[in-house]
């Protein structure tokens, strides 16, 4: 036992000495930093790896954009932070990295961000896609449900099997908003088609997404859309298409058309750069003193979201002719090629929600209940907080809810 006690003592002494030496070094460095010119330092908390080529990649592009834009801005980012374990990373960003602003970029960080904002009153927090606010906690979101609707129009027009597959992350309002907008688009151009859903319970889950996409194809779906943070679903669709079985797909968050040249019809894109620019500029100018009502929610009108599988083509050139060839009867425009319908709706929504919105009643859920009354445009709280249902052209029942 004496021997052990001695080893213990030795090890603890070494560790302590090591720590002491290094901590002294650290302090000097911090002092030097304070002496440098005053800067804004922002921390970004990411849900996936920055190279996921989806959601997190899009945020990373936004971060790089503002870094180039603002010479006074310094940023720190941390990736692959699990939901439910963000606290330790936020603690470190605030206590060790001394950031002024923290962006938490996934809905699941909501409770951790609220806790952090209570703990660190002098730091400003911005939670992406959430709804809880405090004097130092605001929300921001570039939402693409309008774009989803446009993609739904195209999916409905192009499907031959009338079965459209959807690989979905988590059954939360954000997903239902996007999936319902997509399904409403499908319904407008193809009332017979049904949307089939597979839930994978992960934002970043290429293996699960592949399994789900293959299963949907095996069940007869010839068109795939998804909410997951990698181009996996597109790769699956492209593989089948290359083998002679055309599976159409829609890109998500980042320009993924390069992964499915023959398969991708169009997609949703978000430009987080413009949102980060606005928030950081306002912060720098001292305009953000109380965030209790701060909810920067941008749509097509503000240029936060765009239609396309690349930043240059709204629709893959390979699919422009097929979409022009399909004609539908539209209540608003009469008989019209789907391509023109997409462009007209695009222009309308670009002008604002009040000109046209996909969530205009009457809209029924799967049980046949009217969820949005005739003639009404759904309120923002309805589509952002309360939407926990699927509209009536989904084939798959809701996952278990309580």
């Amino acid at each position: 036992m004496k021997k052990i006690a001695r080893i213990l003592f030795f090890a603890i002494t070494v560790l302590a000495a090591f720590g002491l030496v290094l901590s002294c070094g650290g302090k000097k460095e911090a002092g030097a930093q304070a002496a440098a010119e005053k800067k804004v330092k922002a921390g970004f908390v990411y849900i996936g790896p920055a190279g996921d080529y989806g959601w997190t990649y899009a945020h990373e592009q936004g971060r790089q954009f503002v870094v180039k834009e603002f010479p006074w801005l310094e940023t720190v980012s941390v990736e692959s932070v699990p939901e439910g374990d963000a606290v330790r990373f936020i603690d470190r960003l605030v206590q060790e990295q001394k950031v002024d602003v923290v962006f938490t970029t996934s809905f699941g960080y909501i409770d951790d961000t609220v806790k952090a904002a209570e703990k660190y009153k002098d730091t400003m927090f911005f939670h992406c896609s959430g709804f809880k606010r405090a004097p130092n906690l605001g929300n921001y979101m570039g939402d693409m449900y309008q774009i989803y609707y446009l993609n739904g129009l195209m999916a409905g027009a192009l499907t031959k099997s009338d079965k459209i597959g959807y690989v979905a992350a988590f059954p939360i309002p954000e997903l239902f908003r996007h999936m319902n907008a997509f399904a409403l688009g499908v319904k407008e151009t193809n009332p017979k088609a049904r949307v089939h859903v597979k839930w994978i319970y992960a934002w970043y889950g290429p293996d699960k997404a592949r399994e789900a996409a293959e299963a949907l194809v095996a069940e007869g779906c010839d068109t795939l859309a998804f909410t997951e943070d990698t181009p996996t679903v597109i790769e699956v669709a492209q593989e089948h298409t290359a083998k002679g079985k055309t599976i159409r797909s829609f890109s998500h968050y980042s320009p993924m058309q390069q992964y499915g040249k023959d398969s991708v019809v169009s997609g949703q894109l978000t430009d987080w750069g413009v949102l980060y620019k606005k928030i950081l500029q306002d912060y720098r100018d001292g305009k953000l003193t109380d965030l209790s009502n701060y909810d920067l929610l941008w749509f097509m009108k503000e240029g936060a979201v765009e239609l396309g599988g690349t930043w240059t083509d709204r629709i893959n050139p390979a699919y422009v002719e097929p979409l022009k060839a399909v004609k539908v009867k539209s209540a608003a425009f009469g008989e019209i090629p789907v391509y023109d319908l997409v462009m007209k709706r695009y222009d309308q929504m670009k002008q604002g929600r009040e000109v046209f919105d996909p969530f205009t009643g009457p809209i029924k859920d799967q049980k046949g209940n009217i969820v949005i009354p005739a003639g009404q445009i759904a309120s923002i709280p309805h589509i952002f907080l309360e939407m926990m249902y699927q509209v009536d052209n989904f084939a798959t029942p809701l996952p278990q809810q309580k």
Binding site: I4, G84, R88, E96
Partner: protein, 361 residues
């Protein structure tokens, strides 16, 4: 020409201390090479890791937060490894502990006061881990099923069970559709030192468990039997040691301690059951290395637990301060551990270079 390893007859005390220290240095040098390839100053990067885990109050508190579960699990593993029973399933025993405590916390938490519900949850955690741990022991002694396989496979079963619970029957009504259970009631959540994630209960529990296990292993009849089973199975059999009873018992203790770590993570950190990888961060696996580095002695496990916790914390930190991708951290941890294990090997074995000897025929 070939190399041959020969067990060393004995090792000196100096070597016992020098070997891990030297392998650590060699490992750090190898990691430094990786940093160099990424275009970073290796000394600065390495300094940053240890500065951020041991060099500030915040870093130290985070290191202790991570060390506590590692010490709990590692002490238990030291016991089973003494018997040469390779329990690779501490991760699943930890999860089962969390599952049992979640059930107790959510079912009885709302109607019982804190001083009653918290001990009950720890008891349930121990029970959950112990029961799960006894399965492979029974399988091995009664049916001769290799415990490496059974404990390893039980990890997957436990992980799927947790996923099933949080996606299905236990999914919380207050969690916006996410796969978490509801939060435990306030009285079932441990008080933490302000500004940290350290609970005084766990801060006492982990070292107490390590001390008790040291006593158990080196000072009791049970511990003696465990060690005899490990040293010489035939002698143990001859001496009339009941393998079944002893194996069940040491796996109950080892699994139970892992279960306590699960309860601790649940009530101090997460407050609800969620996906297995969020809940545990691989403590059950890291603790295997902790136990070995600690020479299968729970008192030393306290040191190796703190050290490995420091590496994990420092790894998280350099992701931020140096802008390295998250996987660099895993590369770093992997390299250090390989060197430490190699050091252990060279300490126990001598390597001889053997010239080809002429053979007949």
């Amino acid at each position: 020409m070939r190399f041959e390893s020969v067990p060393r007859a004995g090792t000196s005390r100096v070597l016992e201390i020098l070997a891990p220290a030297l392998s650590l240095l060699a490992g750090l040098a190898a990691v430094g090479l990786v940093f160099l390839l990424k275009g970073l100053n290796p000394l600065f990067a390495l300094g940053e890791i240890f500065r951020s885990s041991f060099g500030s109050v915040f870093g130290l508190t985070e290191t202790v937060t991570k060390a506590l579960p590692l010490i709990l699990v590692g002490s238990g593993l030291a016991l089973t490894f003494q018997a040469k029973f390779w329990n690779i399933g501490a991760e699943s025993q930890l999860l089962l502990g969390a599952v049992f405590s979640t059930w107790v916390g959510l079912t009885w938490g709302p109607s019982l006061p804190g001083p009653v519900i918290v001990p009950l949850m720890f008891l349930a955690g121990f029970l959950g881990g112990a029961l799960w741990g006894m399965i492979p022991a029974a399988l091995k002694i009664r049916l001769g099923i290799n415990e490496v396989i059974s404990t390893l496979m039980l990890n997957y079963i436990a992980a799927e069970l947790v996923k099933f619970l949080v996606v299905g029957p236990w999914k919380g009504a207050s969690k916006h559709g996410y796969p978490y259970t509801d939060d435990l009631p306030a009285q079932a959540i441990l008080w933490l030192f302000p500004g940290t994630r350290i609970s005084p209960i766990l801060l006492v529990l982990a070292p107490a468990a390590a001390a008790t296990l040291t006593f158990l292993i080196f000072r009791t009849r049970f511990g003696y039997e465990v060690r005899v089973i490990g040293e010489n199975r035939e002698a143990a059999r001859y001496a009339g040691i009941d393998f079944f009873r002893t194996s069940l018992l040491f796996m109950a203790v080892s699994g139970g301690l892992a279960g306590l770590a699960g309860t601790g993570e649940l009530t101090a950190i997460h407050h609800h059951l969620s996906y297995p990888d969020t809940l545990s961060a691989g403590y059950g696996f890291t603790a295997i290395i902790v136990a070995w580095l600690g020479r299968l002695n729970p008192l030393l496990v306290m040191v190796s637990g703190v050290f490995l916790a420091g590496i994990i914390v420092g790894g998280d930190a350099i992701q931020m301060s140096l802008g390295l991708p998250a996987v660099t951290v895993q590369v770093f941890n992997g390299i250090i551990l390989i060197f430490l294990i190699m050091g252990e090997f060279f300490l126990r074995n001598r390597i001889r270079w053997v010239r080809r000897t002429p053979r007949h025929g």
